[in-house]
Assembly symmetry: C2
Homo-oligomer: 323 residues x 2
């Protein structure tokens, strides 16, 4: 396999944790990795190959301007490495909008796809995650975009989680087909007639359940839902830890409960999901969350390798062309 290109400069903990994660990925997974970034900033790269890039698109930079102006940035160079056949896939924990922009402009859009979408796995402990898309690439969508998101999301759920005929649902505000916006109502007809295993509308409360394997929505609603979910889990986990530390008695009682909670906590850990996937570009592109640790990068590289092996891009092409 060609190496996985890891943007060493992207993310709140870059470059240290990213480089550390890349080295761990090579050691643990035996996958080839190439770092992309400023060689002098990387510290000990552990002998990994480095594609030099003199510029960095910051987390708060304007994505479109960043990609246009910083042609020698790590993000742009990583996407070019995939385009030029020097890397099999790219992984970045940097600026999400700029990652999308670099992938779209340098790798190109998948033929027939109107808009790429961000597919984010929502962990459902004890079960396969729910794939939510679009999680933020396109604030405004047409019914046809949603149809293509459904096709790509289903192909991704098969490639990523081995689900043969994934249950696809549309995010709405009630199960009835009369509920929702005109976008939802029009998309519902398209999805029902597309040969997918379409199970109808689901609500926000169904995201963390087995109601559907793939939940389709516009990027505005998807992003709000995802952030709401992250915020509420973070809030409640904080409240639990506060309670566990509220007294000496609570502290000593908490050990056994933390052990019991550990499996679910491990599955809910955003570092464990392998990151979000940009679907609809000519290559495998993983968007890790901004606070990615070395462990998150290991998982992202692992998933990138699996998606290259599993021919994700070919599957997406087929899914959209067949629809």
């Amino acid at each position: 396999m060609l190496p996985i290109a890891v943007d060493a400069m992207g993310g709140d903990k870059a470059p240290k944790e990213i480089v550390e994660g890349a080295k761990l990925a090579v050691d643990e997974l035996g996958l080839p990795v190439v770092l992309v970034g400023q060689p002098e900033a990387l510290g000990d790269a552990g002998g990994l190959e480095v594609i030099p890039a003199s510029e960095v698109i910051g987390m708060r930079d304007d994505p479109a301007q960043g990609v246009r102006r910083k042609k020698d940035s790590s993000l742009v160079r990583a996407a070019e490495a995939v385009r030029d056949g020097k890397a099999a896939a790219m992984v970045s924990a940097g600026n999400t909008g700029a990652t999308m922009g670099a992938a779209l402009l340098r790798m190109g859009r998948l033929k027939g796809v109107q808009r790429p979408a961000i597919a984010t796995p929502i962990p459902v402990p004890g079960q396969t995650p729910t794939v939510l898309l679009d999680a933020g690439a396109n604030a405004e969508c047409t019914p046809t975009y949603l149809l293509q998101f459904a096709q790509m999301g289903a192909a991704f759920a098969t490639a990523r989680y081995g689900i043969r005929d994934p249950k696809v649902a549309l995010l709405s505000i009630g199960e009835e087909d009369t509920k929702g916006t005109s976008l939802v109502k029009e998309a519902r007809g398209l999805l029902a007639g597309a040969g997918l295993n379409f199970v109808g509308n689901v609500e926000g409360r169904d995201l963390m359940s087995d109601a559907a394997d793939v939940v389709v929505t516009d990027g505005f609603t998807g992003n709000v839902a995802l952030k709401t979910l992250e915020g509420s889990l973070k809030f409640l986990i904080g409240a639990i830890f506060e309670a566990f530390n509220s007294s000496e008695e609570a502290k000593s009682a908490s050990g056994v409960l933390l052990d019991a909670l550990a499996p679910a906590a491990a599955e809910l850990d955003p570092d464990a999901t392998g990151g979000a996937m940009l679907l609809g570009v000519e290559g495998v592109c993983i968007i890790s969350h901004g606070s990615s640790s070395a462990r998150a990068i290991v998982n992202a590289v692992r998933v990138a390798g699996e998606m290259v092996d599993g021919q994700l891009v070919e599957r997406l092409r087929g899914a959209v062309a067949a629809g």
Copy 2:
């Protein structure tokens, strides 16, 4: 005060828990309550006055048809009691859409208000709740609707929680004013120029925080966010209880931790919030959640009484007229 009209037939646990709650409200709060429903179905009404209504709009009935066809339903009769000066406010745990419809058609829209909105308090333990609106009344909105939601939401936060100059925010997918849909971008300008304490955009993760007192959005996004939040909290609370019951050792350790978690759990309990409020109609109308217990009804009656005393409707009228 005129009595609070309680729809005895609405909700998953109606009429038993509803009647029980109404009786408790009279005993505990000293507020007058009138039940609305089928007298023969109510069991022991504890001497409470009953406005007879022979029909029931079911939880799954089509709201518009229900209100139009079932003119002698408890929901329609409750709204008429407010209109006719026989009740000070109405409370229902029944069909949300039908509650809105009955209130809108029978009480009437507040002068100057283009669309009523559902304002739902999102509990933030240790702090005042965040008022989210619209939580589902209007799937599609204009920028002007959102402006009026902001004006009404701020007036409600003042009346309900005593917040003098509530922080009002717009729900979006990034703080930057370039982020979001065209609806959000246009509304942002209106809200910034309306004399409100407008703090800009917030994200889904800010709902359970002190970032804003009032968060404004369209009814589709608001409903998805609310349901996502409810779903994730329910999921995580379930996982905690499972861990607490996972072994004898865990069970015996959990007592002290449950005590420590109790205050936050009490604030997160949906029965404790007093329900959602329909803002923009000519009367106080509380929409309790479908699974309301007797305790939820007590809290709803209490809040209804406070909002009548606090002249909520006059405040809303003034807020929209001044904007």
